[in-house]
């Protein structure tokens, strides 16, 4: 047995193990480190489609009920079905253990009896299939001959049936990135799940408004090898789906699941990342969490070569008011009537405070599972290596004596309702045993700070089976041809187009994200504006105003087109568009004539403007003695700009000022 430091300082141990794992903040981590870790990452991008109705029923899509609003509620319990081997799938077993009561909050406007599984599915929404076909073609996938609706089991209650209806549209595609091509496994069309309202103890609440909305899921191979590449691929998929102009935008309309593994580790799925910019930090931390778990595994096996089979934990329930329970949290639990159990983890000294993620240690892996599997709300435990003050206070010396612990052991004090204690103990034991094996298969929930927590055991492949309620749908050559004719130019072609127009790179992301290149193209060809001018007008001016103003109503691209068409019609100089945009954007219903007068525009002839130059020059000479010719030009320009705006290009005004000097 390896020597364990006898006077363990948890905070110091946390820092030392962090160094031992080699964790560095992402900004300080060079790409080679990921290569050394054997980091690979794949994406599953869910993108809602812009359809009027849901996928398998005729409820309207895209209407969300306000928080706390519902017309009715109903209850379900999910029950695992058995696979042919008579074994419960790992996830299934876990979800059943949790004995969750699932409550659905139903809004009659957005959910029908189909949504709550009281009616079989109606025919798949053809509008959704058409959009999915376009995206499948853009991803260069092989389109299937016949769509087979398949049921994918989910036992968390997020779908009232207990499964999601999903179908593959295309397989084996390609996503070109600037420096590599990412392979695409599949593109499927499927129904969205419920939105979670709360999950406390044994009760989980969902709303059914988002349920059943059509979405496509793009699954890539794990071809990304650095965190930045993952974000790049995610952006690329977003640009691609948005280029159709038929997908939903806004919070939650696109969600990413990220699959991460390192060499020796396991595929871990980080679920439902709402913003692409969170991805690099999340996957960076996950890579090192896996590394930490591998080091822990190595350490445990060095201490206990027999591994998990020989490992046995011991627990003692504290049934009379125990003197060692001194921390405020544990006392609270005690007074609430919770059952308190002291657990000895043989050979785990120094493991509980072992670094796993920034600010989190191995003890959190246990505490997370107590919350999710045993349904015991946090804080649900204290332990002998706590370095957060809230978890300290218990007299672990006394607990050690009570458990007959040895020097090399670690201890947990957990608490919860008496009915949940057996599951809680199983959960602790299971997680500790898994530590001997390395990285458990899990799906994890993302937090904005880049850390993650256990969500559930990663489901196996044995959870897919045909939907006996739906007939297959043939995808004919004609359907593919029709979709092909609707296709927008591919994203890489769009990028080439922007470069050709001499649009600066910093404008690309905005234009692609909002699918504005087609608008630029249309305005340039129909209204004869320079594409670069329109691109910058949108990507700089409009973007700036969007960050600053709160408009009365939503912006549609027609308003932009209308504004520029108005300028052309009135024969105004294009520059005035930059001034008119703020009021036109803020008040989308305002008349453009009114917008024009609101910025103080008065028609003036070119001669009238030029004629003022000499007068202004004289005035400047009287006021100012500066010898800097530029100062005079700038002053005159400042006076003339408001008069010239819309009447004469500024470049010509400047030229006229300069020309006047030589006279």
């Amino acid at each position: 047995m390896k020597i364990v430091p006898s006077d363990l300082d948890p905070q110091r141990n946390f820092e030392e193990t962090r160094q031992r794992v080699g964790y560095t903040p992402r900004q300080e981590t060079p790409a080679e480190v990921y290569q050394q870790l054997g980091f690979i990452c794949g994406l599953e991008v869910h993108q809602q489609l812009q359809t009027a109705k849901k996928l398998f029923c005729r409820c309207p899509a895209g209407i969300y009920q306000p928080d706390g609003y519902y017309d009715a509620e109903l209850i379900r319990h999910m029950r695992p079905t058995l696979s042919e081997l008579g074994e419960y799938d790992g996830t299934a077993l876990m979800e059943f253990k949790t004995r969750k009561t699932v409550i659905y909050h139903i809004d009659n406007r957005t959910a029908c009896t189909y949504d709550v599984d009281d009616t079989p599915p109606f025919k798949l929404n053809p509008e959704a299939l058409e959009i999915a076909l376009e995206i499948a073609l853009l991803l260069q996938t092989t389109i299937v001959g016949e769509l087979h609706i398949t049921r994918k089991q989910y036992l968390d209650g997020s779908i009232p049936t207990g499964f999601q209806r999903t179908a593959i549209v295309g397989i084996e595609g390609r996503l070109p990135l600037p420096h590599k091509t990412v392979r695409v496994i599949q593109l499927s069309v499927e129904e969205d799940a419920c939105r979670e309202v709360s999950d406390v103890g044994h009760v989980r609440v969902y709303t059914t408004d988002r349920l059943g909305m059509p979405l496509v899921e793009t699954v890539t191979y794990p071809d990304m090898q650095t965190p930045d590449e993952v974000a790049e691929a995610a952006h690329s998929i977003r640009f691609l789906t948005r280029s159709t102009g038929k997908v939903r935008t806004g919070i939650g309309a696109a969600r990413e699941d990220v699959n991460v593994s390192i060499r020796g580790g396991t595929r871990v799925e980080i679920k439902g990342v709402p913003r692409i910019r969170y991805i690099p930090e999340l996957v960076h931390n996950e890579a090192f969490r896996q590394k930490s778990l591998l080091v822990i595994c190595e350490e445990l096996l060095a201490r206990m070569p027999a591994g998990a089979p020989g490992w046995q934990m011991r627990h003692v329930a504290l049934d009379t008011d125990p003197p060692m329970v001194t921390s405020a949290l544990a006392r609270q639990a005690w007074e609430k009537g919770d059952c308190l159990v002291a657990v000895n983890l043989p050979g785990f000294r120094g493991i509980l405070s072992f670094f796993t993620q920034p600010g989190r240690s191995f003890a959190d892996e246990i505490s997370d599972r107590l919350k999710v599997i045993a349904c015991i709300e946090k804080p649900n435990m204290a332990h002998s290596e706590a370095f957060r003050p809230a978890e300290q206070g218990e007299d672990f010396e006394a607990i050690r004596r009570l458990l007959g612990a040895r020097e090399e052991d670690a201890q947990i004090l957990l608490w919860g309702p008496v009915g949940d204690i057996p599951t809680a103990l199983e959960t602790v034991e299971e997680r500790c045993r898994l530590a001997f094996l390395g990285v458990p298969n899990e799906t994890r929930k993302a937090f904005p700070d880049g850390t993650t927590m256990f969500e559930r055991v990663l489901p196996g492949p044995d959870r897919m089976y045909p939907d006996t309620d739906s007939a297959p749908i043939a995808i004919t050559e004609e359907m593919i041809e029709r979709a092909r004719r609707r296709l927008p130019p591919r994203v890489d072609r769009r990028l080439a187009q922007l470069r050709e127009w001499n649009v600066p790179e910093d404008a690309f992301a905005y234009l692609l994200r909002h699918n504005l290149v087609p608008l630029v193209e249309r305005i340039a060809s129909e209204l004869r504006f320079a594409p670069r001018f329109v691109a910058l007008f949108l990507a700089h001016r409009l973007k700036h105003l969007q960050g600053r103003l709160r408009p009365d109503g939503p912006l549609d691209v027609g308003r932009i087109y209308g504004l520029l068409a108005f300028i052309r019609e009135r024969g105004l100089e294009p520059e005035i568009a930059f001034e008119m945009l703020a009021p036109a954007y803020e008040h989308p219903d305002a008349d453009l004539e009114a917008v024009l007068s609101s910025i103080g525009y008065v028609p003036r002839s070119r001669d009238d403007i030029i004629a003022r130059i000499s007068v202004l020059r004289e005035e400047f000479a009287r006021r100012n003695t500066s010898r800097d010719a530029g100062a005079g030009r700038r002053w005159i320009m400042g006076r003339l700009r408001p008069l010239a705006l819309g009447n004469m290009p500024m470049a010509e005004v400047a030229a006229a000022i300069r020309a006047g000097e030589s006279l």
Binding site: E73, H77, D118, T142, G145, E146, I168, Y465, T468
Partner: protein, 460 residues
């Protein structure tokens, strides 16, 4: 078609044959659209003959159009064989013995993820594997009487079922559960109510509205409720035990003669019509909603009357119904007709001569109401009085389907119209109630503010 091309026909079959590829082959398929690899699955007989079904390694199924296929290569073969593992059902002397009789509905099943086949679980060991809670409720034994869909149940099956029940009772069973498809469960419930008279124990019919392969199925909970009722209830009647609300909360025990399936797909589809259910049942307890039920007895006596005259018809009246329908039934030798009439029990005048002729020829005709709720009151309007004069007998508030079953059963015992009438109008197991309680008719109408408020406050 032979098993190795299961379900394939036409061009798809020819193609498989030409490449020497069988169902269950691991195959690589080259098509004009791209390549696919997976296991060739059987094809559903009702689907077209122009696609091959493939299970991809990720578990998804896809179809591949025959005309796009250039080449198929078999690179492996994995035939699926399934067996449901059995776990011995724990038996203890403290628990009551319950017999589950199977008629064909799937109340519990296991899923084969490879093919998507649903394998019914039926033996006690199989059921224990699927619904382990059953072992806490009773000692369970099972017997599969037939394997037919609900719509194919008929008099032959009713009789066999009734006799099997009688035998079990005489052998001393404490309760009987009958697994049944839901579509005609209320017909069978009525038939058993008549054929099995004065049972000493609960006879509980149960099924599921959502297939048992899905995690949200109502099957397991229904089965738990039904076995609990069979083992523990003090109610010695034929009952239907299905979801009360659509929520996973409690079941309702409906009297076999007053129950009807009222929604094509809802979990809470069964409703007691014109009365209230006998009891509520949850995992924890059975709560009677009324006291006028037959109590469980210790004796083993029961009267089984397994007879049924099959030449009985149930016709649903509609405006402008032509008399030829009644004439045809008469000429075909039908012995009894139940009419589901409009309102209080009416049909149009053009039917009168046909009705007179039928009655003269000895056909007995009873009137029920298509409103389902309420009594046939045929003396309120002239039409009703005319019809009674013609010989039609109002069947009180018997449900049309129940009246149909009862007439078949009565005519199986006697052809004498007076005796038939006496038997038809003598209430059996609550098929006719003397009075209708105010809470026996509740249809909440959504949209009305008060109802919406009510609906919001309670679980569906």
């Amino acid at each position: 078609m032979s098993e190795i091309f299961k379900g394939y026909r036409g061009p798809a079959l020819e193609l498989l044959k030409s490449f020497h590829v069988r169902v269950w082959s691991e195959a690589r398929i080259q098509t004009t659209r791209g390549d696919f690899q997976g296991i060739v699955l059987p094809r559903s007989e009702n689907d077209d003959d122009r696609h091959i079904v493939l299970k991809l390694p990720n578990g998804y199924n896809v179809g591949i159009a025959v005309e796009t296929i250039r080449h198929i290569e078999e690179c492996g073969y994995k035939e699926a064989h399934y067996k449901i593992p059995e776990r011995e059902f724990p038996v203890s002397p403290e628990k009551r013995n319950v017999k589950l009789l199977g008629t064909g509905g799937t109340i519990a099943s296991r899923l084969d993820y490879r093919t998507g086949a649903v394998i019914p679980a039926f033996s006690p060991g199989e059921l224990y594997g699927a619904v382990p809670e059953l072992a806490d409720i009773c000692n369970l034994t099972t017997e599969k009487l037939f394997a037919v869909f609900s719509e194919n149940m008929g008099p032959t099956q009713y009789k066999i079922l009734a006799q099997a029940i009688g035998e079990e009772i005489r052998k001393g069973i404490h309760g009987i559960v009958i697994g049944h498809g839901t579509d005609t469960m209320h017909h069978t419930a009525a038939a058993l109510s008549y054929m099995v008279q004065h049972p000493p124990i609960p006879i509980v019919m149960v099924g599921s509205q959502r297939s048992s392969d899905r995690p949200s199925s109502d099957a397991a909970l229904n089965l738990i409720h039904a076995t609990k009722t069979a083992a523990e209830a003090d109610i010695a009647e034929v009952m239907v035990c299905m979801f009360g609300p659509t929520s996973d909360e409690y079941g309702l025990l409906h009297r076999g003669t007053r129950v009807r399936k009222m929604h094509s797909s809802y979990r809470s589809t069964f409703r007691t019509i014109g009365d209230i259910p006998i009891a509520m049942v949850s995992r924890e307890k059975i709560t009677p909603l009324r006291q006028d039920y037959n109590r469980r007895r210790d004796d083993r006596t029961v009267e089984v009357i397994p007879v049924f005259e099959e030449r009985v018809s149930l016709i649903y009246y509609y405006p402008n119904m032509h008399p030829d329908i009644i004439e045809a039934l008469t000429d075909l030798g039908y012995k009894g007709i139940i009419i589901a009439g409009t309102g209080l029990g009416h049909v149009n005048k053009p039917l009168y001569p046909a009705i007179r002729r039928a009655v003269e020829k000895g056909v007995v005709i009873y009137m029920t109401v298509q409103t389902l709720w309420g009594y046939a009151h045929m003396f309120v309007y002239d039409t009703g009085r005319d019809l009674m004069t013609l010989g039609i007998v109002p069947a009180e508030n018997m449900l049309p389907e129940v009246a149909y079953i009862k007439l078949g059963w009565v005519l199986g015992q006697t052809a004498d119209p007076d005796r038939v009438k006496e038997m038809m109008l003598t209430p059996i197991c609550g098929d006719i109630t003397e009075r209708e309680p105010y809470n026996g008719y509740l249809i909440y109408q959504g949209g009305i503010p008060e109802v919406e408020e009510f609906i919001k406050r309670f679980h569906k």
